[in-house]
Amino acid sequence: MRYLMLFTLFFFLMAPSLAQKAEQIKLKDLQLAINTSSERIQVFNFWATWCAPCVKEIPLFEKLNQENKTVEVTLVSMDFDLDPNPDKVNRFVARKNIQSKVVILAESDPNSWIDKIDKNWSGALPTTLIVNTKSGKRKLVQKELHEGDLEKLIAEVNN
């Protein structure tokens, strides 16, 4: 019993450093993920640690990630433009114990690539892009999402 308690204590102390480190990706990596045919519906959420409405809606994506295995969730941090140091993002991920995949889009000069992610995107955060990579159908929502929105959007790209 004592060993179990010690082990549990050890595990919880180690947990933060076991949390994922957000991978830094380039535009071409993101474009590949958006365009490569996959069995799963791709959900990309564009967020940043400084964006309050973004942070507020993250639990919706975590829930989706946990409950719906036909969907792949990627939280794309846009923090790089104002702060290229990944520490802030990694600390946020550890603190919130985020389970969904988090990547940092490590690109400057957003004007040169916002259109390449989606030509209808204004660059505003939060923004969510949902892609059915098999049919090519996609939905771009440029505002904070609420309970039930994601399920509706996924159904729309699925039919």
């Binding site: 309050a52 409405p53 433009d81 290229p84 000069d109 916002i114 660059g123 955060l125 939060p126």
Partner: protein, 190 residues
């Protein structure tokens, strides 16, 4: 099923807001000093640098000095800066605006678009979002202030300055539209 698809395509939303070349609307909005301000009040103006801004967004904060500098440089040349806050909540109340404008000693209007009607009409999406207008209120440039939010000194493309300089010298604006990452304007009905 096919019919449904066609209907859905036909119903895809028309882009809201101005394109370059459109004539912008004037407005009557409350300034931080309590007075109502319109573009028509500026009888000597050769144009306007209208900026949809807010108190809270880190992009607005990063650009704040540059916004102040734009007014310093261009108001005397006939292109005053006019800032408009259309944000709902999260520290962007009228009282918060007054506080910031006083603290930063704004020499330009900081107007409150409480109903968000002006932001919607112009098509402002995130802050800061610039609309450079000529004397006839024709939209001549839409978008970011420059190409480097993080570091003013490293900005190589100063979009707004280039647009205003072009208008002042009767040349065509070199880059008329850009996009920027930023805080999406929080809409009341969102």
């Amino acid at each position: 099923m096919m019919l449904v698809c066609v209907v859905m395509l036909a119903a895809s939303p028309v882009k809201n807001g101005y394109e370059v070349g459109d004539k912008a609307t004037d407005f009557k909005l409350k300034n931080v000093d309590g007075k109502i301000v319109s573009l028509a009040d500026f009888k000597e103006a050769k144009g306007f640098i209208v900026i949809f801004d807010c108190n809270t967004c880190p992009y607005s904060k990063a650009y704040n000095e540059r916004i102040i500098d734009l007014n310093e440089k261009y108001a005397a040349k006939g292109f005053p800066v006019i800032t408009i806050n259309a944000n709902d909540g999260y520290g962007d109340s009228y009282e918060d605006m007054v506080r910031i404008a006083n603290k930063k000693k704004y020499k330009f209007p900081y107007l409150y678009d409480e109903t968000q009607a002006i932001a919607k009409t112009y098509g402002a999406t995130n802050t800061p979002h610039v609309f450079v207008l000529n004397r006839e209120l024709k939209v001549s440039y839409i978008g970011a202030i420059d190409d480097n939010a993080r570091n003013a000194a490293s900005a190589s493309k100063k979009y707004v300055e280039n647009a205003v300089d072009a208008l002042l010298t009767g040349k065509s604006v070199p880059v008329t539209k850009t996009k920027a990452v930023g805080c999406g304007i929080r809409w009341r009905d969102a």
